[in-house]
């Protein structure tokens, strides 16, 4: 028996429109890019400089998101209290928060006059806004939810029977975590870290609000594209296509683990 829904012309037409709507802008970038001077356009001092800052900050951010997010995911996966549900919602909120709001929130917390930032400045003379550290904090803030979602789901599926077995063989909680649990969720851990990195690499709104766009200091590649687009649309296209390559490469690499929903 064929299901009627799958052959409905209306649904099929809408699906085709959806596909075209996504493909058209992506393909158009490729059509419009001045391929003949692709490398020379990409290889300018300003672009190189912001690419280096992007790589530095996003790699540190992904590492920080992993170091902080993996233990949090573990705790969230193994508790089912009301508090943990509230904390999960709060920690995942930056994913749906408008990025500029995330930036304002970070300023409110870590700005020179912020709730935490004021103390940091008064006690140790540390001022975070408009520094590379601010870029990293903004990236961790918006990217950690992606890691938590990927990793917590895998922790939930991990076989607790194996953990029980490890305990009967005298293993401490730390040893169980590192030698039994982590290896069994490694694909999801890798997926979570790569997703967090990709999100950090593309971060724009929160970072520009909290860290500003200072070339050579806080200007990342997305900020650079935004600025270049105001005076040289063709160069902006070139940098955009480069970032699209990076994103597609990440998705292709993830295909076997996260994108298909499998954790093995």
């Amino acid at each position: 028996m064929t299901r009627r829904t799958s052959s409905s012309p209306l649904l099929r037409a809408l699906a085709v429109i959806a596909i075209l709507f996504v493909i058209a802008p992506l393909l158009s970038v490729f059509v419009r890019v001045p391929w003949t001077d692709f490398w020379s356009t990409l290889n300018t001092h300003a672009v190189r400089q912001s690419l280096i800052i992007s790589l530095q900050t996003s790699l540190v951010a992904a590492l920080l998101a992993a170091v902080l997010g993996i233990p949090l995911s573990w705790w969230l996966a193994r508790t089912s209290s009301k508090i943990s549900r509230v904390i999960r919602t709060i920690c995942i909120a930056p994913m749906v928060l408008p990025p500029v709001v995330a930036g304002i929130a970070l300023l409110a917390a870590f700005g020179r006059r912020g709730v935490v930032g004021e103390q940091l400045f008064n006690w140790w003379g540390i001022s975070l806004p408009f520094t590379k550290t601010a870029v990293i904090l903004a990236q961790v803030f918006v990217s950690m939810p992606f890691l938590i979602l990927a990793v917590e789901a895998a922790f939930r599926q991990a076989d607790e029977g194996l953990e029980d077995a490890a305990r009967t063989f005298g293993a401490s909680p730390a040893r169980i975590f590192f030698s039994v649990v982590v290896p069994s969720v490694r694909p999801a851990l890798v997926a979570g870290v790569v997703l967090a990195w990709a999100r950090s690499f593309g971060e724009f709104g929160a970072s520009i609000t909290f860290a500003g766009s200072f070339p050579g200091r806080t200007q990342t590649l997305p900020m650079s594209v935004y600025e270049i687009a105001t005076y040289d649309y063709r160069q902006a296209l070139v940098v955009s296509v480069f970032m699209m390559f990076v994103s597609i490469a990440v998705l292709a690499g993830m295909r076997d683990s996260w994108a298909t929903g499998s954790t093995r």
Partner: protein, 210 residues
């Protein structure tokens, strides 16, 4: 050395009365129909599941007694289990699986490797050392699980259906291996099986769970 479980066991509300005392050198065969609580008894002794009531002790040292608020965690009980579902660590090699309980108890890598290889030899699994646990057949995994359990020289050895994952041909062979191991074992052994033949040939006495 003597293990004593007197009280009720169970998960949830269904309580099963147990009155069990086993001395060192004995192999007690636990029999009973499906759902009688055989696996729950194993999990209770090892400390995965708490007693519902009563007391569980080894040599006058209480491991579990809710009324006295005593609880010894599984990692301190010096038990070793061959689980019914084996529970080998799938991402580790066979050798790493057998070494696991030795390494957690502070035995050096060299010594643990040697001991693990020796135990794998004992169960006829020497050729599997470098294989990944997740790629083993049922029978191979059963032998490795047995080697892993005896490697730590536990006070209490718990065998939950230790011959169930194996085909008939090698079953006889492994029963012989197990019999030899239990003969040499100086601790307390608890054997759970639904097969009267296994119990008759391996256990020194039998306790039925109702």
């Amino acid at each position: 050395m003597s293990l004593s479980v007197i009280g009720t066991i169970g998960k949830g509300t269904h309580a099963i009365a147990v009155d069990l005392t086993v001395d060192a050198g004995e192999v007690v065969g636990i029999v009973g129909h499906n759902g009688a609580g055989k696996t729950t008894l194993v999990e209770t002794i090892v400390g995965i599941v708490p007693l519902l009531s009563g007391s569980l002790s080894l040599n006058e040292v209480t491991w579990d007694d809710a009324s006295q608020k005593v609880w010894v965690s599984p990692e301190q009980r010096r038990c070793a289990v061959v689980f019914q579902d084996l529970r080998l660590f799938p991402r580790m090699s066979v050798l790493q699986n057998v070494m696991f309980g030795l390494r957690t108890r502070g035995i050096s890598k060299g010594e643990a490797t040697e001991l693990a290889q020796q135990k794998l030899g004992l169960v006829g699994a020497s050729h599997l050392v470098s294989r990944k646990a997740s790629g083993l057949s049922g029978g191979e995994a059963q032998r490795v699980a047995l080697a892993r359990a005896i490697a730590t020289n536990p006070d209490v050895l718990l065998l939950d259906e230790p011959l169930s994952a194996i085909d008939a041909a090698s079953r006889e062979d492994l029963r012989g291996v197990l019999s030899a191991i239990l003969n040499d074992f100086s601790g307390i052994a608890v054997l759970v099986s639904h097969d009267p033949h296994d119990v008759a040939s391996l256990a020194t006495h039998t306790v039925a769970l109702e």
